[in-house]
Amino acid sequence: MRRRHFLSLSAATVGGVLIYTLDGKASLLSFQQKPVRIPLRFFTETEALIVAAATSRIFPSDESGPGAREAGVVIFIDRQLAGPYGKDRFRYTEPPFEDGPRELGYQGSLTPRQIYRAGLKGLGAFHLLDHAAQDAALRKIESTNFFVLLRQNTIEGVFCDPMHGGNVDMIGWQIVGFPGPRMSNYDEIETYYGKAFRPKPVDLRQVTGAAIRPGEEEP
């Protein structure tokens, strides 16, 4: 068994109290002051720090709202890679693996886990660079499978249901005005033509009142 790795998240990293305005802009009112130590399922601590840094350059915390860091994207990706998605449980992985035209999709043999492991190695001490150097490093790998995956997983981690570890406090949903799995819009669908309707978000466990097993927990 591998040595257990933890990611220590400092004050300004994860969690907080949000306010959001009618047009969907979210901002953090106050931060949790206590650092948290989160056990990692797949990444080493260094890998997690690189992923946290890289995803927050892809989806930064800036004037257009909180970013990947506050949404907990690194925790989301760690869990996804540890689960069936990370090991390509549902992909056709029979050989031979051959290159084909772009229109036939990804034909490689590498799983998301392997792509991340190699891609992160290539980024070196990325988490220690300044923002400009980090952006330059990401621009160099923009066309790689690793970056395509990292970008897609970042968006997933910002906007997924919070049960998957990302979108902490539904921060991503608040940025874009998505209310989560709302059971009915019957009374509103024809009454808000041209006007923003922004009900307070709810997540799936709140809506159903049930414990739901997310896909990453499946074998």
């Binding site: 549902f90 999709g105 019957y186």
Partner: protein
């Protein structure tokens, strides 16, 4: 191989087609029926907890497990096919209900002339009008013959909409270009999402004839002729790739399964992977099927009647694996099984960006408006450089953020970082896509056969698709894109991304789960696999249900048509075949 006691009927596939046939035969007669479904069991009540975009929409939880089996694809016969290793262009479902669980429940009918496409086109434009390598066929059935069954389907589903042609009388507000309907829709049109309302008004202002999109996510409570009651849609927006959490969407699990479960002569075996249909070449009769059960054991299930209802790909593949009929050879033109592979031309023809918010999380898989002014055969063709056409639609599917974040006007080139994020956030709820959906003609060189190299988990060859677009589809899309952009402009869009055009067939872009052909129907045994009663010409106790029997695509979505054909076949079996087994046609 273990042999089980024989039954009257075995049905391969527990989706719309298989379960509707099970209901018709099982409730109207006392025959014993086994339905074999390779996916898991499902119930309508499963879906309360499924409103999770990541696991369902993004990770395709309701779709076939490609680690066990996929298809391979090549653009033409000179190239080597490669497997589709992940889901993309189409999304075949698995489990009880099949793709009928995760569908959007859009239920348009086909235009009358689609059923006689070859003869009508030749009569009107001459033999030279069709592309040189076309494989367009008549179905051997007409719209008029099918209309009563379409009406039964609408009543089964409770379809919501507004008729545009009631027994020949044209009605403004409905689709005046559609075939005649004997009755009005069972339920009125659904509510209208804002984006679709903008589209409706703009289309009308341009002189088109928009109509409410026919929907089996029903507008209000409805009890169908089988006594099944459903509530109306709540516009939660979780239809597309989800099961319906309130049961407003017509699904095999809410319309058919509760009836099947009440009948002791019908049983459903899940986790059963059918590998072959066995037949006796002396008597020319199917003997039953062999399958691997969930424990991995190989089973022979004898049956007097076999229904193959396992979606287009597996219907075709099982015939090829079982050695039933001659495989199609595009070089010699001999054989039929695997021929006439068509998809459906579906593109986001105009993505429009607005100043005002659209609230596009609200909606349903089929709530919206469409117009068919370019989906009819009485168009003035003198200025058009393509055959046939398609409809233009705006639907409020209910959009979720993982799949839809990041769509920005073409002028913005950043794809990550602060600048991209700023525009992506600001446009998130101000973006809507107009969709063009057109007919895909059949061609001699678009077909299916068995892949010589790639295998499934059991060691059987995968199905190989040889498929690409032709100039007719490319020109049609360019035309539909131009019209869509005009509508988007009239809607008040500030920026518009026009679709860039069809090039090579792209498996990475979701197009639709409407794939046709492989086991086509027709009036002549020489040129079709099954008769218009979906009966195999050579093995008369084998019937093939589903869009694999369609000689070519019609622009409209296939489910009402394939269910209508199932009803018609079921009537013929109950009324005639069970009394006197033999060829029905």
């Amino acid at each position: 191989m273990k042999t089980l006691p024989g039954v009257d009927v075995v049905i391969i596939g527990g989706g719309w087609a298989g379960l509707l046939m099970a209901k018709e035969l099982g409730t109207r007669t006392s025959v014993s029926i086994i339905v074999l479904e390779r996916g898991p069991s499902r119930r309508a009540s499963d879906y309360v907890a499924d409103m999770d975009e990541l696991d369902f929409y993004i990770r395709s939880r309701m779709m076939q497990d490609l680690s066990r089996e996929t298809v391979t694809l090549r653009h033409d016969a000179t190239r080597r096919a490669l497997p589709l290793r992940q889901h993309g262009t189409f999304l075949p479902g698995t489990g009880v209900g099949g793709s009928g669980e995760h569908w959007n429940a859009q239920v348009p009918r086909f235009l009358p002339d689609c059923f006689e496409l070859f003869s009508k086109t030749i009569a009107k434009y001459g033999a030279k009008a069709l592309p040189a390598d076309h494989a367009v066929r008549d179905w051997g059935i007409t719209y008029d013959e099918l209309e009563p069954y379409y009406t039964r389907v609408d009543k089964l589903l409770g379809s919501s909409g507004q008729a545009g042609n009631l027994r020949g009388k044209l009605i403004e507000g409905g689709n005046i270009f559609e075939g005649w309907r004997s009755e009005e829709y069972p339920t009125p049109p659904t509510k209208v999402p804002y984006f679709a309302a903008l589209f409706r008004d703009a289309a009308k202002s341009l002189g088109y004839h928009p109509y409410p999109a026919p929907s089996a996510n029903i507008s209000r409570p409805y009890t169908n002729p089988d006594g099944i009651s459903r509530g109306g849609c709540t516009y939660c927006g979780f239809c597309n790739r989800f099961g319906c959490m309130v049961g407003a969407k017509a699904q095999p699990t809410n319309l058919l399964l509760p009836i099947l479960q009440k009948h002791k002569n019908i049983s459903l075996r899940t986790g059963t992977w059918v590998r072959r249909i066995l037949f006796d070449s002396g008597s020319n009769l199917a003997r039953g099927v062999s399958y691997i059960d969930s424990a991995g054991q190989e089973i022979f299930q004898p049956a007097s009647l076999v229904f193959l209802a396992s979606w287009t790909f597996n219907n075709t593949r099982l015939l090829l694996l079982s050695g039933i009929g001659e495989p199609y050879d595009p070089v010699t033109g001999q054989g039929i099984v695997g021929s006439n592979l068509t998809h459906q031309v579906t593109v986001p023809s105009a993505t429009a960006f607005f100043d005002q918010p659209l609230n596009r999380f609200m909606g349903s898989g089929s709530a919206g408006f469409m117009f068919s002014d370019f989906d009819r055969d009485d168009l003035d063709r003198s200025s058009l450089n393509f055959l046939r056409g398609g409809y233009i639609a705006a639907r409020g599917f209910g959009f979720q953020p993982i799949a839809n974040f990041g769509v920005v006007p073409n002028a913005i080139t950043a794809t990550w970082g602060s600048e991209w994020k700023k525009f992506a956030v600001s446009y998130y709820d101000r973006t809507g896509a107009i969709i063009f959906t057109g007919e895909h003609l059949a061609y001699k060189s678009n077909y299916m056969d068995l892949d010589p190299l790639y295998k499934d988990k059991l060691g059987d060859p995968l199905l190989r698709l040889t498929l690409d677009w032709r100039d007719n589809e490319r020109r049609m899309v360019d035309f539909g894109t131009g019209k869509s952009v005009e509508v988007a402009r009239a809607m008040g869009a500030k920026e518009i991304n026009a679709f860039g055009g069809l090039r090579s067939y792209d498996t990475t872009r979701y197009q639709s789960t409407h794939v046709q052909g492989g086991t086509i129907m027709g009036a002549s045994p020489e040129r079709s696999v099954v008769s218009p009663y979906l009966q195999h010409w050579r093995l008369p106790n084998l019937f093939i249900l589903g869009a694999s029997t369609f000689p070519q695509n019609a622009s409209a979505n296939p489910t009402p048509t394939l269910l209508g054909l199932v009803y018609r076949t079921a009537d013929a079996i109950v009324d005639r075949y069970l009394k006197h087994p033999g060829l029905l046609a």
